[in-house]
């Protein structure tokens, strides 16, 4: 058989006749091989990059197109099969006058956040929209169920489809109205639904080399690289191999300057499965046939250092010489007298959580290009300025010689804070002088990038007879993997939040981040707080039950209130909406309590339960300076430009910044032009993380607007109360008298702007002293959610029927986006509670690693609480992470309410819950 295989290969190489493809009614002639995936052909040969590739395995549906009117994954269709068929992609939608309305419905109703799944969603919806029938919501779900979304929680997508099918008119486009508090249409929404937005993999230059990394199959091993020249010669199309010796600058990177412990390429020793040891640069045509298994390397596997106990084992290998005990960092928050202050009633618990994967639908991607002695990097990122500094560090060039151009970002959630493709492709482009593109496969995206920290928590909470909390003791160990990443952030943030949003006079909270050779753990929506909330909310229920108090009332009794001090001694003078959040849920809670008891009467197999979860969350970095600078400029023609370095990762910061800018200047939103992210043109706005952009960059925008108005008043000698109206080519200042400032008369800068001001805002925090006293955060968000679940006791299967969510966001700058963040956060929290667990190597794809689908999201009732934070821009705080934190605790508490058994390990899979129920019955 081998012989015939060979002759066939040579035959195959000969025939490459062109194939006719009909896409969106247009004929194309394509010369790619017959077995090429249609998705690839559409994107690479035809330049139709609106079709996205999320997994190349039919698991995510991002690449959905219509063939002969039917939705299929274009990553699973060969070019030969598609030839001659009518193919429709997102680029063709607007030509269909009916489906144009579907796109508009998506934009207006908030169905697109990051937008990476949107083309697939639209195509799946287009299939059903063409069938002339009345669709029930369940039928819509059945048709849409093959496309995954990680941002929206699906609700607004189904709403948009239903609204479109109903034929009802959309609310009037809100592009002009820019006031804070209004539902301004997502400013970059149209580019998402038209497939025009350029994500990391969408702008690769034609002459680019493609980069593939050689990665370790072992979690822990020494290695020696063999004859690389021979490998290059044996592989036509391979231009060059990069190994450690080729790195021009330092072979290290990391989020923190003093924790740069991750090598770009491992130097003789790998510390996790998937670590890169070399990079192969090849021509595009050679990618498909490149077999990295033939790369010359000899492995000497070492015993893995696995799990928290594995890392702490005194006999375990030391992973970094600087950390002899394999402890990366420790955190603590100790205050008050734990012994003397102890309450009469005490509840303890142990809890365990696993790795959680961000599973954004856009794998890491971008390209790098050398321009003279400068490096330009187009990349999907949450942190352009940190990327700039990190790339400069590995290239050994000044930071100002690196330019980062953020692409549209197809989801972040913390996973695109660390660099991924940046260092290797920059080195490749630097050394070869050719553009170098690097697109992670789904496997790389899952195996190589940081995850949520697995945790092991022990905690004890006490209260007095009056129900008032007295003490809280907490210790959490986190598996941080082999490199620092955001491990120090997690270890430091968690002790400050671990007692929950309650008044507790004495606390003793400690954490450790333990180094292992498992997957790297880093930043993920909430930085360890979601794990800690599972513990404090379980104990709150435990104490309430001991006292025979209602679980919601027990929380209200202990909620932080304005005037209370936190464990760090910070007085919370205002904008503390914890109690309001709980109180707004009270009527539904009491009603559901009765309904659940009624349902459970005589129902042995299906048991319902309700559970509440609360959280608080400090906005921005912990005690660290984390400023943002935003610039607003006005051209001679009156054109207003906001130069924003705050990256929109789908959370909608572009729209929020435009709204604040418009409101602060008193103009309509469509007057604001956005220049985004480019580190040559915008200032450092800091990371899009820690729920900080609305609060911090929002403040910077408001300050810039104020400064701009001040300088206009100065130029016109107008008083501070004068009204400023921005016109075309002039600004009208009406105070004691009316003055018109002719913008054309002012000198312009290189970009044609005549007025320009920078707003700089750094939240007023302080370092914590040796007793952890100080102001770690300038602002806190609060939230309560409660879940109604139904547990099939026989199968251990939990169905979440409804979630009520009350969030103190300070001020909802854009209610549609706030709702979207809450719905999306709840979806991720539900995943954390019930189905998501990343097991290194075993689950590095989207069919073994399960994230919620269309059919898993319950009805969500949202209550937005506005407490107007005096420090927040227009009173706003943040919502990104707070949305997720209370969900898993609420669901776990509801499962306990339903079954009488306390799940202490997430995810609560059917198998695990069945075992738990069985064990409890046995005892």
């Amino acid at each position: 058989m081998n012989k015939s295989l060979k002759s066939a290969e040579s035959l195959g190489a000969m025939e490459r006749k062109s194939v006719r493809l009909n896409v969106n009614g247009q004929d194309y002639s394509v010369r790619s091989p017959g077995g090429a995936r249609l998705a690839e052909v559409l994107r690479d040969d035809l330049g139709l990059t609106g079709t996205k590739v999320g997994c190349n395995a039919g698991d995510c549906g991002a690449c959905t197109v219509l063939i002969a009117g039917k939705q299929v994954c274009s990553c699973l269709v060969s070019l030969d099969q598609a030839a001659g068929e009518a193919i429709e992609t997102v680029e063709g939608l607007q030509a269909d006058s009916r489906l144009r309305g579907l796109q508009q419905s998506f934009v207006e109703l908030g169905a697109a956040q990051c937008g990476i799944c949107t083309p697939g969603m639209l195509m799946a919806a287009a299939e059903l929209a063409r069938e002339n029938k009345a669709w029930s919501r369940t039928e819509i779900l059945d048709r849409m169920g093959g496309v995954l979304c990680r941002c929206t929680g699906y609700t607004k997508i189904v709403d948009a489809i239903e609204h479109y099918l109903s034929g009802a008119a959309l609310p009037a486009p809100k592009a002009e109205a820019g006031e804070v508090g209004g539902r301004l249409t997502k400013v970059d929404g149209l580019s998402r639904v038209e497939g025009a937005a350029r994500y990391g993999a969408d702008a690769t230059p034609e002459d680019a080399l493609y980069l593939k990394a050689v990665r370790s199959p072992h979690a822990h091993a020494r290695f020696v690289i063999g004859d690389v020249a021979k490998f290059v010669n044996a592989n036509p199309g391979v231009i060059r191999v990069i190994t450690v010796r080729d790195i021009p600058g330092k072979n290290e990177y990391g989020i923190f300057e003093h924790y740069r412990d991750q090598p770009v390429l491992a130097d003789g020793l790998v510390r996790f499965c998937g670590e890169a040891i070399a990079a192969v640069l090849c021509e595009k045509d050679a990618v498909a046939d490149l077999d990295l298994a033939s790369f010359p390397v000899t492995w000497e596997p070492l015993p893995p250092v696995s799990g928290i106990d594995g890392g702490l084992d005194p006999k375990a290998a030391m992973l970094h010489a600087s950390r002899p005990d394999n402890v990366l960092t420790r955190g603590r928050m100790i205050r008050g007298d734990m012994e003397a202050g102890r309450g009469r009633h005490s509840v303890s618990g142990k809890f365990q959580t696993g790795y959680v994967e961000h599973a954004y639908i856009e794998p890491e991607a971008g390209f790098a290009r050398r321009v003279g002695d400068r490096m330009e990097v187009f990349v999907t990122t949450q942190t352009p300025y940190m990327d700039r500094d990190g790339v400069a560090h590995v290239l050994g060039i000044p930071q100002t010689e690196v330019r980062i151009l953020p692409s549209a970002v197809g989801g972040g959630f913390g996973g695109k804070i660390d660099m991924s493709v940046q260092p290797l492709m920059a080195i490749g482009a630097w050394l070869t002088g050719r553009p170098v593109a690097y697109v992670y496969s789904r496997l790389e995206s899952m195996r190589v990038t940081p995850k949520r920290h697995p945790s092991r928590i022990e905690a004890t909470m006490t209260c007095g007879d009056d129900g008032k909390l007295k003490t809280f003791a907490f210790h959490a160990d986190f598996n941080t993997g082999p490199y620092a990443s955001a491990g120090p952030i997690v270890a430091n943030r968690v002790p400050l939040h671990a007692m929950g949003p309650y008044r507790v006079p004495a606390v003793h909270c400690t954490t450790r981040a333990v180094l292992t050779t498992d997957a790297i753990a880093g930043a993920f929506r909430g930085f360890g707080v979601p794990q800690a909330a599972i513990a404090h909310e379980a104990l709150m229920d435990g104490l309430a039950d001991k006292l025979g108090m209602d679980r919601l009332e027990f929380r209200i009794l202990n909620s932080l209130m304005p005037g209370d001090s936190t464990a760090t001694g910070q007085e919370l003078s205002s904008s503390v909406g914890m109690k309001e959040c709980l109180e707004v849920l009270r009527p539904a809670w009491n009603e559901q309590k009765k309904a659940v008891a009624e349902f459970n009467k005589g129902n042995d197999r299906f048991r319902r339960g309700i559970g509440v979860g609360c959280m608080w969350y400090g906005i921005g970095n912990t005690s660290q300076p984390n400023p943002s600078s935003m610039r607003i400029a006005i051209g001679a023609d009156g054109k207003i430009t906001l130069f924003s370095g705050a990256v929109d990762i789908g959370q909608g910061v572009n729209t929020i910044m435009v709204q604040m800018c418009a409101d602060a200047l008193g103009v309509s939103a469509d007057r604001i032009n956005l220049v985004l992210g480019d580190t040559d043109r915008t200032l450092d706005a800091g990371k899009s993380s820690a729920s900080r952009q609305t609060f911090i960059s929002g403040n910077a925008v408001v300050l810039a607007a104020e400064k701009l108005k001040e300088s206009i008043r100065r130029l016109t000698n107008a008083g501070p109360d004068s009204k400023i109206t921005f016109g075309q080519g002039k600004v009208l200042v009406s105070g004691a008298q009316e003055v018109s400032l002719d913008l054309g008369s002012l000198p312009g800068d290189g970009e044609g702007n005549v007025l320009s001001e920078v707003g700089y805002y750094n939240p007023p925090t302080t370092d914590l002293d040796e007793h952890q006293q100080g102001i770690p955060y300038a602002s806190y968000a609060f939230a309560a959610q409660f879940a109604l679940v139904e547990v099939d006791v026989l199968l251990g299967y939990t169905k979440v029927l409804k979630i009520w969510a009350a969030h103190d966001v300070g001020r909802a700058v854009n209610p549609t986006q706030v709702e979207g963040q809450i719905q999306g956060g709840i979806a991720q929290g539900l995943g954390l509670a019930l189905m998501e667990e990343y097991i290194p190597v075993a689950t590095d794809n989207l069919h073994n690693y399960l994230i919620p689908t269309f059919g898993d999201i319950p009805e969500i009732e949202i209550h937005i609480i506005e407490t107007l934070d005096p420090l927040g821009p227009f009173g706003a705080k943040g919502i990104g992470e707070p949305a997720l934190v209370p969900t898993a605790p609420a669901i776990l508490n509801a499962i306990q309410d339903a079954t009488g058994c306390r799940p202490t390990q997430v995810p609560v899979t059917p198998s695990r819950l069945w075992q738990l129920l069985r064990d409890n019955r046995g005892s």
């Binding site: 039919g58 939705q71 699973l76 199968l795 689908t853 898993d856």
Partner: protein, 285 residues
């Protein structure tokens, strides 16, 4: 990769014999395998082979499901209640995209222990029509799927069609799939049950098959046996004897423990039987 398109059945068989490449039709297993690192020197595309296509149809005493029938076609086909389980399974295969592309033959030949389509067909007593260079042969589905990714196909053979015996008028079936999420999910366990009864409501045929509980889907013969001659009205009275589930040998894996799977299989079979019985009752009355 040498991508060959077979023009007809003979072509497909010849290419297979000469090249030894895997077949591709819906592509829903081959392309993910390639993404996962599998390297094939070539593929034989059979998606345009007329002899493998066509409508799901009745021929004499059997229903013929052509190899390339997709799961959406199964759902849309006008079929008697004996096919309810298959239709329910078809609607649970991947998402709509996979149902539109994935084929019945591909699902069977890929021979995953968690193949969604196999238990329903097995409970119906389906047979497999195999085409090869020396003509056609037919074997029961139970003998076709030999183990995890193993089938009885010999060199140069392919699955031409699935043949399902036409059951008596009073026949119904049902399918239950258990996964950790609603869509796009690989089963933890699944079960299909087919029941046929006489005019008096006595069971004359019982087919029970469980998937994802062994290297391949299995029939639970002892349970089937215990049902024969019983009245569908008192199905629920039958206790599940441990021996019924004895053939199952599930592993512990990321989706669930072996012990859980055996337990869940018992529950799912009972539910599938009850669901089928309800359908039967509708027909009898």
């Amino acid at each position: 990769m040498d991508y060959r398109r077979a023009e007809n059945l003979e072509d497909a068989v010849r290419l297979r014999r000469e090249m030894g490449y895997p077949f591709v039709a819906g592509g829903t297993d081959i392309y993910p395998a390639i993404e996962n690192g599998a390297r094939f020197p070539g593929l034989i595309d059979v998606s345009k082979v007329e002899a493998l296509r066509g409508k799901i149809r009745r021929e004499h005493d059997a229903w013929i499901i052509p190899a390339l029938a997709t799961w959406s076609e199964v759902v849309a086909a006008d079929l008697p209640p004996q096919f309810d389980a298959l239709k329910q399974a078809a609607a649970e295969v991947g998402g709509r995209q996979i149902q539109n592309a994935g084929t019945v033959a591909g699902n069977i030949c890929n021979a995953s222990p968690a193949a969604d389509g196999i238990p329903a067909l097995m409970s119906l007593g389906a047979g497999i029509v195999i085409a090869g260079s020396s003509g056609e042969r037919e074997i029961p589905l139970e003998e076709f799927v030999l183990g995890n990714r193993k089938t009885a196909l010999q060199e140069g053979e392919l699955l031409r069609a699935v043949k399902v015996p036409v059951r008596a008028a009073r026949c119904a079936s049902a399918f239950r799939k258990l996964g950790a999420r609603r869509y796009l999910v690989i089963s933890i366990v699944m079960a299909a049950a087919t029941l046929e009864c006489d005019a008096g409501g006595r069971i004359t045929y019982a087919g029970i098959s469980v998937g994802a509980c062994a290297a391949r889907a299995l029939r639970l013969a002892a349970w089937e046996q215990a049902l024969l001659g019983r009245s569908i009205a008192d199905l629920h009275a039958l206790e599940v004897a441990p021996a019924y589930l004895a053939p199952l040998s599930p592993m512990d894996d990321i989706r669930g423990s072996g012990a859980y799977r055996v337990h869940a299989a018992g529950v799912l079979v009972r539910e599938a039987l009850a669901k089928a019985a309800v359908r039967l009752n509708e027909q009898v009355s």
